[in-house]
Amino acid sequence: MASFRRTGVLSLAELAGQLPPLERLRKGPCAAIECVEEIPCNPCEEACPAGAISVGEEITSVPRLDFQRCTGCGACLAVCPGLAIFLLDLSGDRPRLTVPYELLPVPQPGEEVELLSRAGEAVGRGKVVRARRAGTTWLLTLELPSEGLLWEARGVRRGK
């Protein structure tokens, strides 16, 4: 049994191949689809305006992302029922991470938040640089203090 079935936490090894390569991230934001199980779901494929995501006829197939085609627009983050897609970006001065957010109150630009790992551990602090609304899901773009956190941080907690 894969350990994430026991813990609910994917390791970087289990995500190998799903995360965009460094050289791609230096050019601008790119999606990271952390969806590794064969579940019947394909809205991401249809939502992608660049045609970069493929699931195929069998909707239980795991989505595949063409990193070079992905424009980092975030359309897939807004529709993913599993809130399993993130945007990673290493093109600017600081690493940037975009996460879907569905809690209240919504952190606003300028606010500092606590960053949580996939296992919910506090791993650092980030600053909200953009908060956009996609229906009732918010997409929060955070500036991170280090590149390492781009691979580790996935959750956001206000205050503290």
Binding site: M1, R6, T7, E37, I39, E57, A84, T136
Partner: protein, 483 residues
């Protein structure tokens, strides 16, 4: 005190996904005490908002609260304006209404005379019992073929369990993937509302074989006698219970009941919660608790692995909610309502390991330990039943057209075997197409498309159980045909 809260503090005014437009303010009485409520709320919802979780008592005087909140479990029977055994969870409040808690089953006052309203006689080519995803999809399909069905639902708000689903649906676009469940309910209701006679708050008491089918329903104190040529039963499921000391304390709720309180009525079901069961329902509702501002102490799952989708588990974990696999709930503690839970690790045989017990202070325990199909109506009609574990227990035997062993009676959705709302909608479509066929229409082409869509949704490891279960039913059907 966990059982009281200040001044309606439990009504949510903001929610990340939902809005709660409230009706007119009104006052009703509970055991003589005035309670402020809003039009559209049920008795149970309004009492919760007022901090009252003890709705009634057993004969021995043990407090009783909600369990299912959708009219199926009888845990919340109260006396309303002198009428005993009224389901508090599905009965809307009215100004001046006098609600009394009971001690055991209520007794009818011998001098009580019913109001003597004449029964309503109705006729329909197709009647649908249940206005959830399966029933509404069936209604929509019938309408698109020029047949106006009559649809009954026992809850005050039709839409079934869709109305409390705040997450976006899985599946593909044709099954409304990416749209939140409550929105799907709104869309379906809008499509059928003007054309379909939808009787909400109608409880079907029985079904008889008489000139086709005769349904007897009770609605707002009046009997409805409904004659239908074809019948679609889409009565859903009810939540399973779990055996542990203290399991009857108010505050031990089915996960669906908690959803009803917080997502339909905008009432915070508690402050600190434990979820029992890491299937999709448990994981989704735990996340919804966070959205309603409830602290979730963790999810316990007796099996060695998480049953639901990883993506649902991941949402909880990255917000700091632990998921304890190989753990079980040993007991709920509390005097008049739940105040704590004891959890423990289990061994290979699922027995609690002594010394691993932990006590958690909380006021809410949610049970998400599976569903059982609600099948009484089809059973009463004489449909053959079969035990199929993969489908949640006893289910009516049916063919791939959703017809039961009683000709002209079809099933769809959870009552035909536990599945997802998306597959329930497709089964509702299938049942409707078969009913249309029963009325002489040709539907083969359309049906093929629905079968293909169902097969796509049931592919993969998570579709294995329903796939196997339905196969078992089909082979039973074949045996019966040849045997």
């Amino acid at each position: 005190m966990p059982n009281r809260s200040r001044d309606n503090g439990q009504r949510l005014s903001h929610h990340p996904i939902l809005e709660f437009p409230r009706g007119r303010k009104l006052t009703f009485f509970f055991d003589g005490r005035p309670i402020t409520a809003y039009e559209g709320e049920t008795i149970a919802a309004a009492l919760h908002a007022a901090g009252i979780r003890i709705l009634t008592h057993t004969e021995a005087g043990r407090p009783r609260g909600l369990f299912c909140a959708i009219g199926k479990c009888s845990s919340c029977l109260v006396t309303v304006d002198g009428v005993p055994n009224v389901k508090g969870c599905v009965t809307p409040v009215r100004a001046g209404m006098r609600v009394e808690s009971q001690r055991g089953p209520g007794r009818i006052d011998p001098s009580f005379r019913p109001r003597g309203l004449a029964p309503v006689h109705q006729r329909a080519e197709v009647a649908i019992v249940g206005g959830g995803p399966a029933g509404l999809a069936a209604a929509q399909t019938l309408l698109s073929h020029g047949v106006k069905p009559l649809c009954l639902d026992e809850n005050p708000h039709p839409g079934g369990q869709l109305v409390k689903q705040t997450h976006k649906f899985f599946g593909s676009r044709a099954e409304k993937a990416g749209t939140r469940g409550h929105r799907i309910a709104q869309e379906l209701l809008a499509q059928v509302a003007s054309e379909v006679e939808l009787l909400a708050g109608a409880q079907v008491l029985g079904a008889y074989e008489e000139e086709g089918r005769l349904l007897v329903a009770s609605r707002a104190g009046r009997l409805h006698l409904i004659q239908a040529r074809q019948l679609i039963v889409a009565t859903g499921a009810q939540e399973r219970f779990l055996l542990f000391p203290g399991n009857d304390l108010p505050g031990v709720y089915g996960a669906g009941a908690v959803q009803t309180l917080m997502n339909v009525y905008g009432i915070k079901p508690g402050r600190r919660a434990l979820m029992v069961g890491a299937g999709n329902v448990g994981l989704i509702v735990a996340y919804q608790l966070l959205q309603a501002g409830v602290e979730v102490l963790g999810v316990v799952e007796v099996l060695p692995e998480i049953g639901g989708y990883h993506v649902h588990a991941a949402k909880l974990r990255r917000l700091g909610v632990p998921i304890h696999t190989r753990h079980t709930l040993i007991a709920a503690l509390g005097e008049r309502a739940v105040e704590a839970a004891v959890i423990a690790e289990v061994d290979e045989e699922l027995r609690p390991i002594p010394g691993t017990e932990r006590e958690l202070e909380l006021d809410l325990i949610c049970l998400a330990v599976g569903l059982s199909p609600s099948t009484r109506l089809v059973e009463q009609l004489g449909a053959r039943m079969a035990w199929v574990g993969e489908l949640g227990g006893w289910v009516p035997v049916h063919d791939e057209r959703m017809e039961t062993t009683v000709p002209g009676v079809y099933v769809a959705g959870d009552c035909a075997g536990i599945g997802e709302a998306s597959t329930a909608m497709l089964e509702g479509k299938l049942a409707a197409l078969s009913a249309l066929e029963g009325l002489g229409q040709r539907v083969e082409g359309e049906r093929r498309g629905v079968w293909q869509a169902l097969a796509r949704l049931r592919a993969g490891p998570f579709g294995r159980r329903p796939r196997l279960g339905k196969e078992k039913l089909l082979s039973l059907m074949k045996e019966m045909a040849y045997g």
